[in-house]
């Protein structure tokens, strides 16, 4: 039981090479790996909420010398999101992967998937600043190769683009950690937090902060550093798109929150250096510009990818408001948007599986032959817009309340106005798939592909009505960030 924190990271890590050794059962191994990770995440979240933060010391070497794992409510919340989406994706993906990936590469695919999961979970679980970088690289490198396995050659270009941007981001993060290490002589986050206050006015620490913010923003795909994201989402295999869209940017945002609040202390980012002066306008730009671009896209995956950039804007907007309500809204939206985009991309992946294309012109009239898949897209789209009784409404509601609390009525107006643009691009999808005449009819996807999709969509509706769960945990998470 006390080892649950390390098992969370190690189980997928051990199972990844097994996919190489036993190629025939690679899918089964990936399924058990993500299911075990999900069980760990549930146990961890319950323990963190019930008993308190989990600390784990690797190798028996006490921090700050040794490496430690540290999971607080925010960490537990994100672990749950990542493992939940991973498990559903693996269940969904069995046939989708067979249809999109060459047969001799399927076991490599699942190996990479498990490594990506390992990296993602490690970033969240670790309490060591350098380990964040190491796990970030594990997750990123496996992601690059997963994207490169996409259907056509444009996937290679998308992967390379992400590789370059992602490496720049990771290098900036590493430089920042190096500068911090130079100043404090420690890499443990709690230890860093205790020695940084007296160094806060040195230019070295300020430079470290700047490098970190820009580097992580690249990985978050904060506007205007988002250029890698639309292509990566569009040309990656459907399975990878789902997992990336639902988890990767949220994990990067988690890193930002972790460093802003736990390592540097919230006062440093927002009172001393006024990061919100940059973050707030960029977030609003992200919401508007990306939503507008999404309206004019011709490919369903691209529409949703640009919408992701816009939704990331909502999350960073919540962070930039720099009050506890804004932070709660950001954390809730991280979770909700993970589920929304997960569900939507699963449905789109279903379309891709049957019709073989995600271009809107090939999907005309698909709503009539694939009613369940399309139903999921419509409900997911509603949640994306923020229609009441869906999860998207809850996060936007909290965001607007947070903005009004700071007397920023223009921000509240912007959020409402952007919802109309979101409604426009969602309507374009609905209009093409239901009302336009077309003969590109595919059959409905099999049940085991529908079930994970609808499970996520049903959760969206449930979390839109019963907000105690998500808001409750998010408030705890925000509280533990602000006053640890």
């Amino acid at each position: 039981m006390e080892h649950i924190a390390i098992l969370q990271v190690v189980i997928p890590l051990v199972l990844a090479p097994l996919c190489l050794v036993i190629p025939r059962y690679a899918w089964l191994i990936a399924f058990f790996g993500s299911l075990a990770a999900l069980c760990c995440a549930i146990v961890i979240l319950l323990a963190v909420l019930g008993v308190g933060d989990i600390f784990y010391v690797l190798g028996g070497w006490a921090p700050p010398w040794g490496i430690s794992l540290h999971i607080d409510p925010l960490g537990g919340y994100i672990l749950l999101l990542v493992t939940l989406v991973a498990t559903l994706v693996v269940v969904w993906a069995h046939d989708s992967v067979s249809s999109e990936i060459q047969e001799d590469q399927i076991n490599l695919f699942w190996c990479m998937f498990l490594l990506c999961l390992t990296g993602s979970l490690g970033i969240v679980a670790t309490g060591d600043a350098f380990n964040v970088f190491v796990f970030l690289e594990i997750a990123s490198l496996s992601t690059y190769s997963l994207i490169a396995l996409g259907r056509d050659r444009r996937a290679l270009m998308a992967s390379f683009q992400y590789l370059v941007m992602g490496t720049v981001g990771a290098t900036f993060i590493l430089i920042s950690i190096g500068l911090l290490y130079m100043m404090t002589g420690t890499l443990n986050m709690v230890d860093l937090a205790s020695s940084l206050p007296e160094l806060r006015d040195t230019t070295t620490v300020q430079a470290a902060f700047a490098f970190l913010t820009v580097g992580v923003s690249l990985k978050i795909a904060l506007f205007p550093l988002h250029q890698w994201l639309p292509n990566a989402y569009t040309y990656a295999p459907s399975t990878v798109t789902v997992f990336l869209a639902a988890t990767s940017t949220k994990i990067s945002l988690y890193v930002l929150l972790r460093f802003f609040y736990t390592v540097f202390g919230s006062g440093y980012a927002f009172d001393d250096l006024n990061v919100d002066y940059i973050l707030l306008p960029l977030s609003i730009l992200a919401i508007f510009v990306s939503s507008m671009i999404a309206v004019f896209q011709k490919d369903l995956k691209k529409i949703l990818a640009y919408s992701s950039v816009a939704q990331i804007g909502y999350m960073t907007l919540g962070v930039a408001l720099a009050n506890s309500q804004g932070l709660t809204a950001a954390i809730v939206h991280m979770f909700n948007h993970g589920l929304i985009k997960g569900g939507l991309f699963l449905a789109v992946g279903g379309l891709c599986f049957r019709i073989g294309s995600t271009s809107l012109s090939d999907l005309r009239g698909a709503g009539r032959t694939m009613p369940w898949t399309m139903g999921a897209i419509v409900l997911g789209g509603c949640a994306l817009i923020g229609v009441p009784l869906t999860a998207g409404f809850v996060s936007k509601w909290y965001l607007i309340v947070a903005a009004l609390e700071k007397d920023m009525w223009y921000v509240a107006l912007a959020i409402l106005a952007a919802s109309i643009i979101a409604a426009t691009y969602v309507w374009r999808i609905v209009e093409t798939l239901y009302f336009q005449e077309g003969d590109s009819a595919g059959r409905e996807v099999p049940v085991y592909m529908l079930l994970p999709t609808w499970l996520l969509i049903a959760m969206l509706v449930w979390l839109g009505i019963d907000t105690d769960l998500t808001i409750g945990i998010a408030e705890r998470a925000a509280q533990s960030l602000v006053s640890p």
Partner: protein
Amino acid sequence: MKNNFIVREVANLFLPIIVLFGFYVQFHGDFGPGGGFQAGVIVAVGIILYALVHGLKKTRQLIPDVFIRFLMAMGLLLFAATGLASLFLGAEFLNYSVLGSDQLTGQHIGIILIELGVGITVAAVMVAIFYAFVGRDAK
């Protein structure tokens, strides 16, 4: 290059020395400079030298891709298994102290196994990268 007498013979002469030196760096790593990563690269260099002189085809017959892939996985598995072994013996993950009869031997056994895992994986990955780049035209 195997038609060039001097290159071939010097390579053949050096090959065992390079690999032997790799093993020295590997197993002496916990007393002197070295360790799994460096040793893995040195052993891989030996194999790459062999491939440069005797050709890729012959090297691939000697060390097939499947075997390389197997080694890659095995190194990582050895690493993880060492960590899990200390977990099953009641200590933290990667706490070597419980692996031996007393703390000192435990630490020795632990670090040797871990470094061996690193060495195997690094050597295999190096050769795999070499195969991937050089083998592009062959396909």
